[in-house]
Symmetry: none
Subunit: 390 residues, 2 copies
DNA sequence: CCGAGTTCACACTGTTCA
DNA sequence: TGAACAGTGTGAACTCGG
C-alpha cells in the first residue's frame, strides 16, 4: 500500500508545472497541462481572437511566467497556442446552451423526485404507527381528507404565476399599507383555499365573509408562516418598519412559536381551517358590546368540531400516545393565546395608523380595519369571490 | 478630527447591506445600494431579459440571500427590479461603443500630447546644440518641413477608423494572400501620405504609380516598422506561416535593423520618402533587361536629392559631429542593402506562390507581383487614388 | 475523479461631477 | 482633485455530466 507520490491520489499530488506559465498545474485543460489561471485565460481570450486586438508592446517575445503572465496577454495567448492548447475544446455558444439545458433538465428531475419521495414519506408516516400500540392509525377516510387538504393548498400556491414574487422590496420604507398591500395576492389564494373546504363553502355567504374577517389576523399570520415568509430577512425588515421595534418583536415571537409546527406539512393547514371556523372571540369588543352575529352559527360549530376531531385523530396517529397528544394540545392552546394577543396588538396599532390604512387596497382594508358596522356590510364580500364557487 | 464611523471616508466604511441579497454593499449600482455580485449579476442578466428565459422552479418567491442568491436567477433578477435597479443605467451596446471610442480618442490625444512634448524636447535639444561647436542647428524652414512630415503622417494614421486593427487573427493559417490583404488599408493610407508630399504629388501620375510599385517592398517594410506592427507576436506568426521559417527570419532581421531608427519620430518617415523617390534599382531584372522607364526622371532625381540633403542636415543637427553623421550613413547604407536583399527574397517567394497570389486584392496584387508588362499598364493606377489629389 | 463550465471578490482603468 | 460609478480582466472556488 506504499503510495507513489507521483501517482498517488492524495489531494496535493503534483502534476508538474503549467506548460504556459510554469505555475502549479491543475490538470489537462483544452489539451495541455496548465494552471487554473491559464485555463481561464485561454477560455476567455481564444474565442475573441478575430474580434479583439492582441498587441504586444514589447518585441513579441515576452516571457510568460507566473509573475509576468499578466503583463502581455498577446504573448500569453500566443504561448497558449504554441504549447498546443486547442481552441476546439472550448464549448461553442450552442454547445454551452445544450449543456445548460441538460443541467436544467436534470435539476428539474431531481427536484421532482425529491418532492415525490417527500410526500411518499408523509404518506408512509401516516401509516407507520399503525402497527404500534401507541398511535392509532388513521382511517382511510381521514387519510383521504388530510391528503386532500394538503393537495388543495399546495396546488393553490404552486400554480405558476399565482405567486410571482411580490415579496419584500418594501424594506425600510414599509408602512402598514405597503406591508399589507404586498400580501393581497397571497390572501386571495388563501381565500380560494378555504372555498375548497366543503364545510366552509356550504356556509351562507355572509357568514363566510364574517368568519374570514373576524379571524383574519391569526389566519394571515399562520399562512405567512406556512409560506415560510416569516423567516425572510426582508419580511422582518418590513415588519419593523411597519409596526415599530416592539410590535415587530411580538409578531416575530408568534412566528417563532408557530415554527414548532412547520415541520409538519399538514398540521398548520389543518389548524388554519379550524381557526377559520372559530367564532369572534374577543375581537372588536372595543366598541361593539355584542358578539358578531352569524346566520348559521350551528353549522359553523359543527364544521369546527369536524376538523378539531380530525386534528385530534391526526395527532393521535402521529404521536406515541394519548398523553402526548394532550400535552401537545396544551402547548397548542398556549400558542393560540399568544397569537391572539399579538393579533390584538396589531389591531390596536392599525387603529392608530388611520392615515396609512386609507392606502390599503379595498379588499384588505375592509377585512383588516372594518368600521364596526361594515362587519355586516356586503361591500367587498363579492370581491372575496365567495359567491361563485364550484 | 474624531472620525464618525458612519460618515467616515475610510475605505472600509460600511454602507449597509445589499438591497438584493443582504451582503456587504459596495455602493449605488444602477440606482440601488448593492453588493458587487448583484451589480455584475444585474448587468449580465437584465439585458437578456427578452432573449433568455428566466424560470423559477419554485413558487417564484425564492429567498434571495448571500447564500441562496445563486439558486434561482429568476427570483434574483425579479428582486433586482423590485428593489428598483434601473435597466436604463446599463450602458447599451452603442453607448458602450461610444464610451470605448471616447476612451480611445482620449488615449490618442494623450499620446499625441506626450509625443508633442517629446518632439518639443527634441526640437529644443536640436537647438541646444546650436551653441556647441558640434551639431549644426536646423534652419526654421527645414524645421517646418520636418514638422510637417511628422504631422502629415501621424494625422493620416490617427484618423478615426483608418486603422481599425485588422491585424493578427491570421495566425497559423496565414498565407501570402491573407498576409498582404490584411494590410490593404494601411497601404492605402501610406499612399495618401505620399500624396501630401508636394514633390511627389507634382510628378506625372504614371511615374508616381511606378515609383510606389517599384519600391513597394522596402516602403511596406518600413511602414510596418513605424506602425510598430513588426513586434507584434501575431505578425511574426503570420510571417512564419506565410513565408516559412527561414524567410520569416530574414524579414525579422530586417525589422530588427530598422528598430535602430525607431526611437526617432521623424527619421524613418524621412527615409521612406527618400526611398519612394529612388529609381528601380535592380528589381524585376529577372526578365526585363532594361530598367523601368520614367516620364520625368529628372524631377524624381531632384526630389530625391532634396530629401537626401534634408536628411543629411537633420542628422547633422542631431549628431555631435560630421564624423558621426558619416558613420551613421555607412551603417544606414548597410541596412538598406540588407533590406533590399530581404525584399528580393520576398519577391522570389511570391513568384513561387502564384496560386495564393491570385487571392490578393487587386490593388496589392498589381503592386506586389506585377506581370512585367503591367509595370506600364494603367490598371489600378487610379485605384491608388493618385489622380484626384489636392 | 476529470475537465468542461460559472460565479464573484478583487484589482484595476477611465469619465464625470461637485 | 477626489469620490462615485460606469467599465474590464483575473483567478480561486465552485457545479456538474461522463
Ligand atoms: Zn499557467
Ligand atoms: Zn508581448
Ligand atoms: Zn447582493
Ligand atoms: Zn425562484
Amino acid at each position: 500500500m506504499a503510495e507513489n507520490p507521483c501517482t498517488g491520489t492524495s489531494k496535493s499530488r503534483q502534476l508538474g508545472p503549467c506548460s504556459v506559465c510554469g505555475a502549479n498545474s491543475i490538470g489537462i485543460n483544452f489539451g495541455v497541462l496548465t494552471c487554473m489561471a491559464c485555463k481561464a485565460f485561454f477560455r476567455r481570450n481564444a474565442v475573441k481572437l478575430g474580434k479583439t486586438e492582441f498587441i504586444c508592446y514589447q518585441n513579441g517575445d515576452c516571457l510568460v511566467t507566473h509573475d509576468l503572465r499578466r503583463m502581455c496577454n498577446c504573448c500569453r495567448l500566443a504561448k497558449c497556442f504554441r504549447v498546443g492548447m486547442q481552441k476546439s475544446s472550448i464549448l461553442s455558444e450552442s454547445e454551452k446552451q445544450a449543456r445548460k439545458d441538460l443541467v436544467d433538465q436534470n435539476r428539474r428531475k431531481r427536484e421532482e423526485r425529491k418532492l415525490m419521495r417527500h410526500t411518499e414519506k408523509i404518506r408512509l408516516s401516516l401509516n407507520a404507527y399503525s402497527s404500534e400500540k401507541g398511535p392509532k392509525a388513521l382511517s382511510p377516510f381521514d387519510q383521504m381528507i388530510l391528503t386532500n387538504i394538503f393537495n388543495i393548498y399546495e396546488r393553490a400556491y404552486s400554480q405558476k404565476g399565482v405567486e410571482p414574487f411580490t415579496n419584500a422590496p418594501v424594506l425600510k420604507h414599509a408602512t402598514v399599507d405597503t406591508f399589507f398591500n404586498d400580501s393581497e395576492r397571497r390572501v386571495r389564494v388563501l381565500f380560494d383555499f378555504f372555498k375548497l373546504i366543503p364545510e366552509f363553502n356550504k356556509l351562507p355567504i355572509m357568514d363566510r365573509a364574517r368568519l374570514v374577517r373576524t379571524n383574519f389576523g391569526p389566519l394571515f399570520h399562520m399562512n405567512e408562516s406556512i409560506l415560510n415568509r416569516s423567516s425572510h430577512e426582508n419580511f422582518i425588515f418590513s415588519l419593523q418598519a411597519a409596526f415599530g421595534e416592539i410590535g415587530a418583536l411580538e409578531v416575530r415571537i408568534s412566528f417563532e412559536r408557530e415554527r414548532e409546527y412547520s415541520y409538519d406539512p399538514i398540521l398548520l393547514k389543518l389548524i388554519m381551517i379550524i381557526w377559520c371556523f372559530s367564532l369572534g372571540m374577543n375581537k372588536y369588543t372595543y366598541n361593539i358590546d355584542t358578539s358578531v352575529i352569524y346566520e348559521d352559527t350551528l353549522a359553523i360549530f359543527a364544521s369546527e368540531s369536524v376538523y378539531v376531531e380530525l386534528l385530534w385523530r391526526y395527532l393521535l396517529s402521529r404521536l406515541p400516545s394519548t398523553e402526548y397528544t394532550v400535552k401537545f394540545f396544551n402547548s397548542f392552546v398556549l400558542n393560540v393565546l399568544w397569537l391572539q394577543r399579538t393579533c390584538l396588538s396589531v389591531d390596536r396599532f392599525m387603529l392608530k395608523s388611520e392615515r396609512n390604512v386609507k392606502n390599503i387596497v379595498p379588499l384588505l382594508q375592509c377585512i383588516i380595519c372594518p368600521s364596526p358596522d361594515s362587519l355586516y356590510a356586503t361591500e367587498h364580500t363579492s370581491d372575496m369571490n365567495f359567491g361563485n364557487v364550484q
